[in-house]
């Protein structure tokens, strides 16, 4: 026997009232006739329009074009360092090294773009806009902050971070490239970038004692290391740049290898 058969008249009236009330409430929450909907309802301030992330198929070509774009980030940065004379004082002797690094990146970009073209893709011959906007430009802003007494050192720190970023990018795509030969080609370049990073690490933190990982006891942050771990890491790259605060601590900037929204898809042009 159904339970509804046992309902009293009073209970039936209560259920009816609740149903009518609930329907009215839900109707009030819905879109109203003649009222223009606004994206700003229930928000403080204006909400910028959403821009969908660039997307597409992730192919070997896309991964290699992304790697090429990072090479141009490095080329542009070294060109600026050389042309603007940002290495001064004791760091001026690094100018030859900066030129060598720049030339290596030019060669790497050409090699990667050659692979891209051989796979049927279009060479990408400019920097990764997202890497530039999120990492390099903020870093340069910190470096050139008035009162920063370590401009040259910070330039080297930025270069060191970019070399590590390039190394990690190549190592990171090994798991995604479909061809073993392409993986070998990628790591042939990563091998060079890692060596660049060591030379710069030894400038920032020289000596045998700083080859392996160490920690700055005053700040608790990891010191720059030539060989920071036994295996090549795929981790956030933290770099300290700019004017130090009263405690002597510089602002930190975290860098990560390009992800889905930083890839150079087929439709991305320079």
């Amino acid at each position: 026997m159904s339970n509804f058969e046992n309902l009293s008249r009073r209970e039936l009236l209560r259920i009816s009232a609740l149903s009518i009330g609930g329907t009215a409430f839900l109707a009030a929450c819905g879109k109203q006739s003649g009222v223009q909907s606004s994206a700003n309802i229930a928000s403080a301030g204006s909400v910028p329009s959403l821009q969908p992330a660039n997307s597409g198929d992730i192919t070997d070509i896309v991964l290699l074009r992304t790697a090429a774009s990072l090479e141009y980030n490095a080329i542009d940065t070294y060109n600026m360092v050389i042309e603007d004379g940002l290495l001064t004082g004791d760091f001026a002797k690094l100018s030859d090294a900066a030129k060598r690094f720049r030339d290596d990146h030019v060669a790497h970009a050409a090699a990667i773009n050659s692979l891209v073209v051989s796979l049927g893709g279009k060479a990408h011959e400019c920097a990764n806009e997202r890497v530039d906007r999120l990492y390099i430009q903020p870093a340069l802003k910190l470096i050139t902050t008035e009162g920063n007494e370590d401009t040259s050192r910070d330039v080297v720190a930025l270069a060191h971070a970019l070399e590590n970023l390039a190394t990690q990018t190549y190592q990171g795509v090994v798991g995604s490239l479909t061809s073993p030969k392409l993986r070998g080609d990628a790591m042939r370049i990563a091998h060079d970038e890692a060596r660049h990073a060591v030379v710069l690490a030894q400038v920032l933190n020289p000596g045998f004692a700083s080859v392996g990982p160490t920690v700055n006891e005053a700040t608790g942050k990891a010191n720059v290391a030539s060989v920071p771990s036994a295996f090549g890491a795929l981790a956030i790259i933290q770099v300290s740049l700019g004017k130090a605060n009263a405690e002597g601590v510089k602002p930190s900037l975290n860098m990560e290898t390009p992800s889905l929204n930083g890839l150079i898809y087929d439709n991305v042009t320079c």
Binding site: R183, M187, A194, V211, L263
Partner: protein, 180 residues
């Protein structure tokens, strides 16, 4: 979402090492064990002290870690024996402090080139990712010997070594040389 996960449905190379991969990885492991033993010989000679000795001990342990990690992929197919040819070729060169650094750098350069060749033939993703992570570390080891005790930019950046990877792993590029 990580790129590899996004990509996975479209292309699916094997995850585990193939039988050909295992032969290449076995060679890599034996080479790592030989280099580990060469470093251990240097460390036990007490020619180096303080921070230099600590750095060399660290590199020694790194090579042991590489051999152990490869062992994890090979399982019971791992020989866990050093490559005697590599060991015997280099052990006589570990005499003076200068020749020791030159020899260790040559070894690191050789391993890096060899692993790049091997990587270019590995089908399995697990092995490829492991070898890739070893390549960047060994490139760093080699560069350290070019920066310390004094910086030589070409020594730090250039790798003149030839690959000693088994002939079957040689990619068809002019950049690599294959030893018999």
């Amino acid at each position: 979402m990580p790129i590899a996960k996004q990509r996975a449905p479209r292309s699916a190379p094997p995850k585990q090492p193939t039988s050909n991969d295992k032969q290449l990885l076995a060679f890599a492991q034996e080479a790592e064990l030989a280099v580990h033993d060469l470093y251990a010989t240097v460390v036990s000679s007490s020619k180096f002290t303080g921070d230099e000795a600590a750095m060399l001990s660290m590199f020694t342990e790194h090579h042991k870690a590489y051999a152990q990690a490869i062992n994890g992929l090979l399982g019971k197919e791992a020989t866990n024996r050093r490559n005697e040819s590599i060991y015997q070729t280099y052990v006589g060169q570990l005499t003076t402090m200068q020749s020791i650094y030159a020899t260790l750098q040559a070894l690191e350069n050789t391993l890096a080139k060899t692993h790049i060749d091997i990587l270019g033939n590995l089908e399995g993703i697990d092995g490829a990712q492991l070898v890739a992570s070893i390549i960047t570390a060994e490139a760093r080891h080699a560069a350290v010997f070019g920066t310390l005790p004094t910086l030589s930019l070409s020594s730090a950046l250039d790798n003149p070594a030839a690959s000693i990877a088994p002939a079957s792993s040689a990619p068809a590029t002019p950049e690599t040389t294959v030893a018999p």
